[in-house]
């Protein structure tokens, strides 16, 4: 088995064992949506223009929470040193961890999306296909940069505070592209009008995944 498959399997099994990150991220997403809805008084106002931003802010925050958990697990009992002292290539450790996190993000979003539809009175219908495409591309970008930042935070004494400060500015292009694309998809605009956002997301994913797999070796060791 390749080291990629071994680490990916380990990440998924570890998450499945406790379902800790999944539960935390789901409950957190729901809470944030509730807070937003109360703060903006959804019942009385036309909230539709805010919906894409609301959705993505929620996903961003819950992603940060999941990343914090993902390196917390490597810190306990210094389990991370087992991966690093193995012959496994650091690039494939990075790719495996990012892939596992991508699956986690998608799971959280697919479970929580119907609830958002209900709470925020969204009309998804035929927008579902394009919306899933946006989710997938944005999540790849979030995972690629997120795992790098988590790798930095893991070894830093004050990693918990560093993570959000480093993560969110680096993700701003994703936030812009994802909210715009989500808005266009929900408004059922023809894709040709907004495919530049998909291209931007796609290029971001390629560039930062490649950069991550080269750079990870330099941040994994103490």
């Amino acid at each position: 088995m390749s080291s990629f498959a071994v680490v990916l399997g380990k990440e998924l099994r570890l998450e499945w064992r406790t379902r800790e990150s999944l539960a935390v991220m789901l409950v957190f997403s729901l809470t944030v949506i509730l807070l937003f809805a109360l703060a903006f008084n959804v019942a009385a106002t036309k909230i539709q223009t805010f919906v894409p931003g609301l959705l993505w802010m929620t996903y961003f925050f819950s992603a940060a929470l999941g990343l914090l958990r993902s390196f917390g697990r490597e810190r306990e009992m210094e389990a991370y040193d087992l991966l690093l002292s193995s012959p496994a290539d650091r690039g494939s450790i990075y790719l495996a961890k990012a892939s596992a996190f991508l699956l986690l993000l998608l799971t959280v979003q697919i479970i929580s999306l119907p609830l958002f539809v209900l709470f925020l009175d969204l009309q998804i219908g035929t927008a579902l296909g394009p919306l899933l495409l946006v989710l997938l591309l944005a999540d790849i970008g979030i995972s690629a940069v997120g795992m790098l930042v988590a790798g930095l935070s893991l070894r830093s004494p004050r990693g918990e505070t560093l993570l959000p400060i480093l993560l969110f500015p680096l993700l701003t292009p994703i936030l812009i592209a994802a909210t715009r694309a989500t808005g266009a998809a929900l408004a059922l605009r023809p894709m040709a009008e907004w495919d530049m956002w998909l291209m931007l997301l796609f290029t971001y994913c390629v560039v930062f995944t490649l950069a991550g797999s080269f750079i990870f070796d330099y941040i994994s060791e103490q």
């Binding site: 002292s85 012959p87 290539d89």
Partner: protein, 232 residues
């Protein structure tokens, strides 16, 4: 006999304070080497660098003919590291942790040798318990099971004897002796000087980031005196 491992001028600093200065050492196959030093002398740092967990600022090394510290991680396949911490995932069972440890080294998982080794180290019947429920001594024993099942030429053991009871320490000594007889090399640290000097062929004294003395089969008193002299 050619050296299994050579380190040349390995240097590591924290906040520009040198922890290891120009460490050069070599190990041959079939050697048991005791790395002794006071608290904070850099023993753990040296082992972590050799394990690929820490990055040296300078220096080079060769392990079984492969260049160490290179981005290509294949050199690490000849080495196995048992850290001061267990290096395991608490929510995984013993079996899951060991299966992961072997697979990531590119080895195949075999149930039978695992159960036998578990039995030998007194952990039979605990294979499905999460290791988070293990005591410190049991985690040490499980670490030894991991070393037993892994394929390597050089073992790096950081305080393998801590938290072990008398029976556990005997199992550890026996394991190290057996590995030596198989022609493998073991580098270990310990604060139990009597145990260390009795077991080892050679003792390296690490003081203030340099290997000050190299002694062949020293007496316990000799090592203890040298360590005391080193007091700041």
């Amino acid at each position: 006999m050619p050296n299994l491992l050579t380190l040349q001028q390995v240097t590591k600093a924290f906040h520009l304070r040198p922890v290891l200065r120009d460490i050069s050492l070599s190990l041959r196959a079939g050697e048991k080497v005791f790395l002794a030093g006071r608290n904070g002398s850099g023993k753990t740092t040296l082992l972590k660098i050799m394990a690929g967990v820490m990055r040296p600022e300078a220096g080079s090394g060769e392990l079984a003919g492969r260049r160490m510290f290179s981005p290509d991680g294949r050199w690490r396949s000849k080495m196995a590291y048992l850290g001061h911490q267990p290096n395991m995932y608490p929510s995984f069972s013993a079996r899951e942790n060991l299966r992961l440890a072997l697979r990531i080294r590119g080895q195949h998982w075999q149930e039978q040798p695992f159960l036998e080794a578990l039995d030998r180290y007194g952990l039979a019947g605990r294979e499905d318990d999460p290791v988070g429920t293990y005591s410190e001594g049991m985690l040490r024993r499980l670490g030894l099971v991991r070393m037993t099942l892994s394929v390597w030429l050089l073992a790096l053991l950081d305080e393998p004897g801590s938290a072990l009871d008398i029976a556990g320490t005997q199992l550890l000594s026996a394991a190290i002796n057996q590995w030596q007889q198989e022609g493998r090399a073991v580098l270990f640290t310990s604060h139990n000087i009597a145990w260390g000097v009795e077991l080892a062929d050679r003792c390296l004294l690490l003081a203030r980031g340099v290997i000050g003395q190299e002694l062949h089969r020293p007496g316990e008193q000799q090592v203890a005196d040298l360590l005391r002299e080193d007091a700041p």
